[in-house]
């Protein structure tokens, strides 16, 4: 609508989505500009994944508008989103279990050389090295991806999106299944992407992940927006408090105190007090 050069990469306005009679989203606004990380936060079932599936072209929104670089779009398939430079890591990963890792990595964006032949050595090599870069040392890139561990699979999906994401990178709980080292790498990837001028949409349940890298924070609850803040408007403590009442942790510490064997644990929890309320670990 605006059409100006400085229009945000992705802008959703008043978007709503129903699954049959299930209302998953209502009147949601979302925006991400170049060189910016927008975090979508919220409780389980709040509608975060639904929102990014609309961005990714997997679902079409029922109400509201969706603009990419100022042009109004209505994506009929994820292919169109990819062609607009929007790459997505889905929460359910979107891999084909029986196919080898490297084929999954390049699926839909195969590298070819003359005569339409696949460039297999290149793809094998790239897959291996991209995963090594994330701290995953695969035994064999020809292994069916279904036989990888949960975290390894997650890493393949992330590495793929990072490799192909041209303008916008959408990540749905990318660090959920990841080990300490891998999670660190992913956060670094996000920062790097931002530096390169990409827009990033990040979904996470961990305010400690979200706050350092995020520029905007969108907080959903039961399908509605309950908060929309830029970084300067909010502190980490406020953000974590918004995501869930801190009451949970204190309650837990309290309960532990009342049991004999739990005493030590309670002390431990109390020690980690400030940074643990509310949690990455409640």
């Amino acid at each position: 609508m605006t059409g100006s050069g400085s229009a945000p990469l992705v802008r959703l306005t008043g978007v709503g989505k129903n699954y049959g009679n299930v209302i998953a989203l209502r009147e949601v606004d979302l925006q991400v500009s170049a060189g910016e990380v927008t975090c979508v936060l919220g409780d389980n079932g709040a509608g975060k994944s639904t929102l990014i599936k609309i961005v990714a072209g997997l679902h079409r929104h029922d109400t509201g508008t969706y603009e990419v670089e100022g042009r109004r779009v209505s994506l009929a398939s994820p292919r169109e989103a990819l062609d607009l430079g929007i790459a997505t890591v889905y929460q359910d990963l979107a891999v084909v279990p029986l196919m080898p890792v490297w084929r999954n990595f390049f699926l839909g964006s195969e590298k070819r050389r003359g005569l339409g032949r696949l460039d297999v050595p290149y793809m094998r090599r790239t897959t291996r090295s991209e995963l090594l870069g994330m701290g995953i040392d695969l035994r064999d890139v020809d292994q069916p991806i279904g036989t990888l561990s949960g975290g390894e699979r997650q890493c393949v999906a992330i590495a793929r999106a990072v490799h192909f994401g041209a303008k916008v990178l959408v990540l749905d709980e990318p660090t959920a299944a990841l080990g300490v080292k891998q999670a660190g790498v992913v956060l670094r990837y996000i920062v790097q992407a931002r530096e390169r001028g990409l827009g990033v949409i990040l979904i996470t349940h961990n305010p400690h992940h979200a706050y350092p890298v995020g520029d905007r924070f969108l907080i959903l609850n039961r399908g509605r927006v309950i908060g929309h803040h830029t970084k300067d408007e909010i502190t980490r403590e406020e953000l974590t408090a918004l995501m869930a009442g801190g009451a949970e942790l204190e309650q837990l510490a309290h309960e532990l105190e009342h049991t004999a064997s739990g005493a030590a644990a309670a002390r431990e929890l109390a020690k980690g007090a400030e940074d643990l309320r509310p949690p990455p670990a409640p």
Partner: protein, 349 residues
Amino acid sequence: MSQAVLKSAAAADERLARRSPLRRLAGRPEFGALLGAAVLFAFFSVVADAFLRASSFSTVLYAASTFGIMAVSVALLMIGGEFDLSAGVMVTTGALVAALVSYQLTLNVWVGVVISLVVTLGLGLLNGLLYVRTGLPSFIVTLGTFLMLAGANLGVTKLVTGNVASDSIRDMDGFDAARAVFAADLDVGGVRVNVTVLWWLLFVAVATWILLRTRTGNWIFACGGAPGSARAVGVPVARVKVGLFMGVAFTAWFSGMHLLFAYSSVQSGEGVGNEFYYIICAVIGGCLLTGGYGSAIGAAIGAFIFGMTSKGIVYAEWNPDWFKFFLGAMLLLATVVNLVVRRRAEPSR
């Protein structure tokens, strides 16, 4: 080069047990089916004297090739996650169209051949579009077109010729040339080999190449293995599936041309039931019914097993009343061998 580096790196990984090359070979999906075929071959060589002659082998190959040509495209479709129940009658439709058009309009048979190609591909497209647009399972869609084609084959043939078979086109222009292409007997080292065998091998090679070395092949596996995921990463699932249906139509056209030029007239009721034999060949060769896994070579071996078994029973001169009994037993035998091999190759999977 870099691959060699990777390989040696992988071999050095302490998290991998060593495997003998034989074991590794045995791990390939086609190996078990191949061994099943070998067991059957050895078996029939022992029980049937006539079986081991070169001429007999070429008969077996011919029988296998007529199933095998269709099994290739049907296997691709199954890997892509769909069925085509109309495959059997579509062969007949292809042949009938060419025969009726050429004969009724007294045209060069090649005109009929081309028109038949267009019509058959159109039917494949119809199957594909019906599937994609309605969202019904392909089993139902192609069941519908199967019945409709079977009815139309008979109805149209009777309408046009007044009989239940097409008229013979043996003496028409272009027949001999077409026969040479679709149904010639070649002399290979003193043994007659039908040209369909060569076509079969060609189709298998092309299909294997497509599956393993092209983008399309990647997409076929993905569409069958996890259509939702494939769509999510940008694979044009609908287009791939329509293409696969048209692939089946293409081989149906080819088989129809063979039928026509080998036998010069076509019975309108032929072809019914063959669709299941194609599926059977694919499944014996290791294709999963649920899609996403299989190979064209496997389907070819499946067709070979099927052809060998059905002819081997004749060579062995067993009681024909029990024909199907033996057929069933042999097929089970071949697949169990396949399975045992794969189990041994991959002990704890």
